[in-house]
């Protein structure tokens, strides 16, 4: 039990290599191995999360070498949410892939890379020092490049290469920031840095902060560093894009939260950054939604919508430093959880539509809903939720983010975002609901109940989250309290 924080990293990474090995020796049991790795990782993650929720925080020091020499892992109730999300994402994506893809798609390294990616993301969540943070972020980058270019089509290689170039810059900025922190404080342990950071000159502190915001801003797609994202998601395909947008992006946002409140003590030492972040968030929301409105490719449209939703979460973060800490962080957490489920549900149900129409262009999806009403109903429920139509969970997360703002402008930006996003989802809706497809659709391949169930359950949970928003909100406030140090008390 006490080894849980390290197990959440070790299990999937060992599992990833095990999957590769099984693929070589016994390809027939590969699916079982993938499922076993995902489920065991899910179990470990959930156990760790619940342990952290009951006895926060959970510290783990491998090899009993205490910081500053040794490294430490730390799980508290703030990270618990992300551990649960990763468990949902890993198990959900594997179950979906089991249900949706034919045996041909099971060749190659996708399954192994997915397991490794989730291991790396879990590492980012549990790590308590900057050194490990850098290592896990880079590991996640390598896995992401592999996943983006896995289809071995020429355009996916290009997208992978572009992402690699951009990620190299992001990694260099992160390493640069770690370097500056180390040279200024003499340690990379997050808790020790937090104790010494006030001695650092303000200018240097500002440079570190800027480097970290840009580094993670690239990763989660903050405007204007988001340009790689639609292309990469399009190349990666819907299943992987669901993982990257639904769960990967959230972990980078987690890292930003953790760094700003933990080692950098930004709300205390540099509160001037938060209005700047607020402006960036508003720009991100508007640009993301407008670009999505202009897009005529479904995957790219969803990718740009995910850029915009990164903006909503950033808006919550900005308000947390500026106005009221716990409520705003809780709102951002609510939106993180809701968006993870909504976006993966959207992308994965889009997978069915795309494989039916054999194209991801929206105009080719005429009459798709008549062929698969259940999946498209799930898509529409998730779309209503993500646009923020009451009484879904997506509405309440936006509502809480809006309530946390100190001024009217961000609220109006959120409101405008809802109108624009309703515009592009409704446009897709009228296309898929249209009568008589212009050309006969492909013979419907049998879709298993499993993959349909995953998208339906995700969309259903988000829709139902609106009903349970009261208890959920108080849970998120507790989680936020463990980040801001108030312990969840008002």
């Amino acid at each position: 039990m006490s080894h849980l924080p390290v197990l959440v990293v070790v299990v999937p990474i060992a599992g990833g290599f095990l999957i590769s090995l099984v693929d070589l020796i016994l390809p027939s049991v590969k699916k079982a191995a993938v499922l076993a790795v995902a489920l065991s990782h899910g179990c470990v993650l959930v156990l760790a999360a619940f342990a952290a929720l009951s006895y926060p925080p959970l510290m783990y020091v491998p090899g009993s070498w205490l910081p500053p020499v040794g490294i430490a892992l730390r799980v508290d109730s703030f990270s618990a949410l992300f551990l649960i999300l990763l468990a949902v994402g890993h198990c959900g994506s594997v179950l979906f892939r089991l249900g949706s893809e034919g045996s041909r798609q099971w060749e190659g390294k996708t399954a192994a890379l997915t397991a490794l990616l989730f291991g790396a993301l879990a590492g980012v969540v549990v790590t308590a020092d900057l050194f490990n943070l850098f290592v896990f972020v880079e590991l996640a980058t390598v896995c992401t490049v592999g996943l983006i270019s896995r289809k071995q089509r020429p355009d996916s290689s290009v997208a992978g290469f572009v992402y690699l170039m951009i990620a190299a810059v992001s990694g260099a900025l992160l390493l640069f920031a770690v370097l500056l922190i180390y040279s200024a404080t003499g340690t990379v342990s997050m808790s020790l840095v937090a104790e010494r950071i006030h001695e650092v000159p303000a200018a240097l502190h500002g440079v570190i902060l800027g480097a970290l915001v840009v580094s993670f801003g690239i990763k989660f797609g903050m405007v204007p560093f988001h340009v790689w994202q639609p292309r990469a998601y399009h190349a990666a395909g819907t299943t992987t894009a669901g993982v990257l947008s639904g769960f990967g992006m959230k972990v980078y946002l987690y890292a930003l939260f953790r760094l700003l409140w933990g080692p950098l003590q930004a709300p205390l030492l540099l509160p001037e950054i938060f209005p700047v972040l607020q402006v960036l968030a508003m720009v991100t929301i508007l640009v993301g939604h407008l670009m999505a409105l202009l897009e005529n490719n479904l995957i790219r449209m969803l990718a740009l919508s995910s850029v915009a939703h990164g903006g909503y979460i950033l808006l919550g973060l900005a308000a947390a430093g500026d106005v009221g800490a716990d409520a705003a962080v809780a709102a951002a957490l609510f939106h993180i959880a809701a968006h993870a489920l909504m976006k993966s549900s959207l992308l994965w149900s889009a997978h069915h539509a795309i494989s039916l129409a054999r194209s991801s262009r929206i105009v080719d999806h005429h009459g798709v809903a008549r062929e698969m009403p259940v999946v498209m109903a799930a898509f529409m429920v998730a779309a209503l939720a993500i646009a923020g139509i009451p009484p879904t969970g997506g509405f309440f997360s936006k509502w809480l983010v809006a309530l946390a703002q100190g001024s009217l402008l961000p609220v109006l930006v959120i409101a405008l975002g809802t109108v624009i996003s309703m515009g592009y989802y409704a446009r897709y809706f009228v296309v898929v609901m249209a009568k008589r497809p212009p050309e006969p659709l492909r013979q419907v391949r049998s879709r298993s109940i499993l993959s349909t169930a995953v998208v339906v359950v995700f969309a259903g949970v988000v829709a139902a989250a609106g009903v349970a928003q009261g208890p959920l909100q108080s849970l998120f406030v507790v989680m936020a309290g463990s980040l801001t140090g108030s312990g969840g008390l008002p």
Binding site: F161, V162, M165, I166, V169, S170, L173, A202, A203, H205, G206, V207, L209, G210, A211, V213, V214, G217, I218, P224, F225, V227, W228, P230, R231, L270, E272, I273, P275, V276, L290, M291, L293, L294, L384, A387, I389, P390, P391, W399, A402, L403, Q405, L408, V411, L412, I414, A415, L416, T418, V419, M422, G423, A426, R427, V430, M433, A434, K435
Partner: protein
Amino acid sequence: MIPGGIEAGVFLVFAGLGTSLVVLLVAAGARGPAAAGAVHVAGGILAILAQDLMTLLIGWEVLTFSAFILIRDDGGRRHRGVALRYLITHVGAAVLYFAAMVVQVNETGSLAVQVLVPAAQPLMVLAVLIKTATIPLHTWLVRSYPSTDTLVTPLLSVFTTKVGVVTAARLLRFAPGGYPILALLGGVTAVVAVVYALQQHNARRLLAYHIVSQVGYMIAGIGLAAVETTPDAAAVTAGLFHLVTHTLYKALLLLVAAEAVRHAGHEDLTGMPGLRFRRPALLLCALVGALAISGAPFTSGHASKYLLKGVSQGSPVVNGLLTAASVGTGLSFIKFIYLIFFNRVDAAVGAAVTTGTTPAGGPPSIRDRAVILSILGTAAVTLFIGFFPGSVPGVPAGGYHALDASLGALAPLGVSAILWLLLRRRLTRQHHRPRRPRSTPMISVLTRLGRRMRVPARSLQELGPQIQIFMILAGFSALVLLILQVS
């Protein structure tokens, strides 16, 4: 929980009329629209029963999405465009509501339905103006309502704008500097929409403009509640009573129009064959509706307009606007009745305009019987309210049928009749090219701008990797400089 006072009357109309119109759709065999219509009715009832702002917003959204389904209908290209515009307009209204709600909760900490804090009022006013199709935000209504099935239009006319009026009655008291802007907007809308209506030749588009105009009356009444000289409750009661009466006679008129369209096979009033006395019951019911909307004595419309006139005594501008609108309304409905029942169309033109759907004749189907039954029912209720206005919950009794009140109502109608004699030719001239209302200039400018922006925006989205990296570095430098500047 059923609300008290005049809102109970609104609830009864929403529930009763909504249900019967859905039953009508079922009887007509339109299963899909009937299901969406049932949801639409449920949304309206949810809105009127709402005890807090959140539930009211949910009611708005349920109405919006079910109406979107109803307007989208069979998914034809034109319907799709109209339905999309409808949806975007109303989501726009809902997000303004959302923003107002955020302001309200931040200031008071409560979601209760009450008059909003002053900071939230302008946002909510804008939301309500969109929702109630106040000119110049009325285009969504006149484009969408006439483009649906003839039996769906009455259902749509019952809820969306009326829920906007109810919202205004509950939340808005907007008179910055003691100047009743909302009431003036309502009065101007009532007049301008009538002027538009007089130019229409399409049966349902004419009625749609009259919805805009009549909702203007209600907004005028409710807007007057913000003026200190007017008793709050009286103004709200007058506005909502007009909502009750108008909803009933407008549904009646739209059903009459549906019958006329079925006989003619098309919607051009100037090309209608002239039913005369072939359908005496229909003629009587149409007269009941037309007299009610014109505000002739002993009709429901007269009763509610009488109350409105009472509350607008303190504001001569609003009073004058409403009287002018009454003149126009009377004129417009003389034309409506004349063209449907007494017009003599040249045989050649009539044949040219008529396109062959099933003409009347032969045994009436279940659909026809159900339509006739609904027409008779709504006409009966309209008559009843006309004779006994005090029977509607919350409405003060007495005074409606007094001689001076009746004469006051007849005066504008007399002007209408004189105008009719003067303008008859111009108003009933045949038009071979039906005019479609243009969309709001702002929306069309935005659409055009969007189309033009598409290419540059796409190319922005396709920047090469090195330019992206350059942007990242530039962004990093700018951010650091900014942080250093502010700290």
